[in-house]
Amino acid sequence: MTNETTATIRTRKFLTNRLLCRKQMVVDVLHPGRSSVPKTEICEKLAKMYKTTPDVVFSFGFRTNFGGGKSTGFALIYDTLDFAKKFEPKYRLQRKGMFEKKKLSRKQRKERKNRMKKVRGTKKAKVGAASGKKVMHTF
């Protein structure tokens, strides 16, 4: 059962935030007879409405009302992708695939900290995660 009924998107409380070079709004999605709409679809529809590309549109915080059929969330539309990368929090960029977080395990973090303890001052910064692998001189 893939009941592909279309979803209606309406925006409220529209505000142009010149300081952060973006437009922010509250988004109402009406989707009767269908489970909640994925954020990618919402971003595409908003991009069409505001005549931009979908990669500068960030939507989040969608909550479906009790009984279904309507969800409310927020959306931000940046002027350019550079501003988006600068101002948007990393986890939201990660959702769009524009940012990859370094996945250091706990053990590695603790080892790095212990290495840093041995050095004083600005040399701590040189003691990166990679410096754990000491060069093996083979003869």
């Binding site: 059962m1 922010q24 007879g33 909550r63 009984g67 279904g68 309507k70 927020f74």
Partner: protein
């Protein structure tokens, strides 16, 4: 052209004769009335002022009309005459008074009846509250004015249960369901569910958008619900202005669970059956089914493929 002229003349003559006879009748009646009032002037101090206004407006209107007729009979035109304003104003006043009078009609009739002495003391439709019926012999008291039927019931039940058995007061009428068959009961239940869904929030909001009628705000007597509603609204306002989602505290989550309606009213299936009536075998897109389908697809192909590779 000549025939038309003649018809108009004949009509005019008949109308003039009518006016003459009518004015004679009216004159006689007015004479009699004014004689009556001169002999015995009535006291209008404590009367309804709305009736006075109505009669004054009527009189002015009639005067205006007759004056207009005089002008017309003398062959002058009524255009750009302030008489028209007078007539229109009084006519509007009369028309506006009509509905107000309708509303007061019941009270006025009752008062007239009482003045004439037609209402007896035992008439249960008397317009006064009867404090003797407030407390009866051992039943819970009701503080509303009882109608005739309820009074009789009370007296009958009093005679039956005179010993002292407690009988709860029949204040709210319940529908009688004893004579319905199973199919009828089912149909009633479905009708009830449909009615509830019709007034669901989603449809209400859609309606609010597309009608021009003003939005109704409901005041409930339930204090707890009103407080909850107010808090929920405040939270929503905060979330929308600051574009954040606030997490629900533990107590609030429990409250939300308690106020949840039964699943039959809010499940997707029922709503969809309301919108799309041909689709009788509509099924919920349950997570279990989706998961199973996914597992089958992946597991089947993947496993087989793996086994093949290993063997090789």
């Amino acid at each position: 052209m000549e025939d038309e002229g003649r018809d108009v003349q004949l009509e005019f003559r008949s109308l003039i004769e009518e006016i003459a006879t009518h004015t004679n009748q009216v004159r006689e009646k007015v004479k009699a009335l004014s004689q009556q009032i001169a002999d015995d002037p009535p006291n209008v101090n404590k009367g309804l002022s709305i009736l006075e206004v109505k009669y004054h407006a009527f009189l002015e209107y009639l005067i205006g009309i007759t004056y207009g007729m005089i002008i017309k009979v003398n062959g002058m035109s009524l255009q750009k005459n302030s008489l028209i304003d007078l007539i229109v104003e009084n006519r509007t006043i009369i028309e506006r008074i009509r509905p107000i009078e309708q509303k007061l009609k019941y009270q006025m009739d009752k008062v007239l009846k009482a003045a004439r002495g037609d209402l007896s003391a035992d008439d249960p439709l008397r317009f006064k509250a009867n404090p003797d019926l407030l407390v009866t012999k051992g039943e819970a008291s009701s503080e509303e004015e009882l109608s005739e039927g309820e009074e009789e019931d009370r007296q009958k039940s009093d005679s039956k249960h005179s010993v002292g058995t407690y009988v709860p007061p029949k204040l709210v009428s319940m529908p009688y369901e004893g004579d319905l068959s199973l199919a009828e009961k089912k149909a009633q239940k479905e009708a009830r569910i449909k009615r509830h869904l019709m007034t669901s929030t989603l449809l209400q909001e859609l309606k609010e958008e597309y009608t021009d009628a003003p939005i109704e705000l409901v005041d409930t007597d339930d204090i707890i619900k009103a407080k909850q509603h107010k808090r929920a609204k405040e939270k929503q306002e905060y979330e929308e202005t600051y574009m954040t989602r606030m997490p629900l505290a533990k107590a609030d989550r429990k409250g939300v669970k308690r106020t949840n309606l039964g699943t039959e009213l809010t499940s997707f299936g029922n709503f969809a059956s309301l919108m799309d009536e041909e689709n009788e075998d509509f099924e919920l897109p349950s997570r279990k089914k989706a998961k199973n389908a996914l597992k089958k697809g992946k597991g089947g192909k993947g496993k087989k493929g793996k086994m093949f590779k290993r063997r090789k």
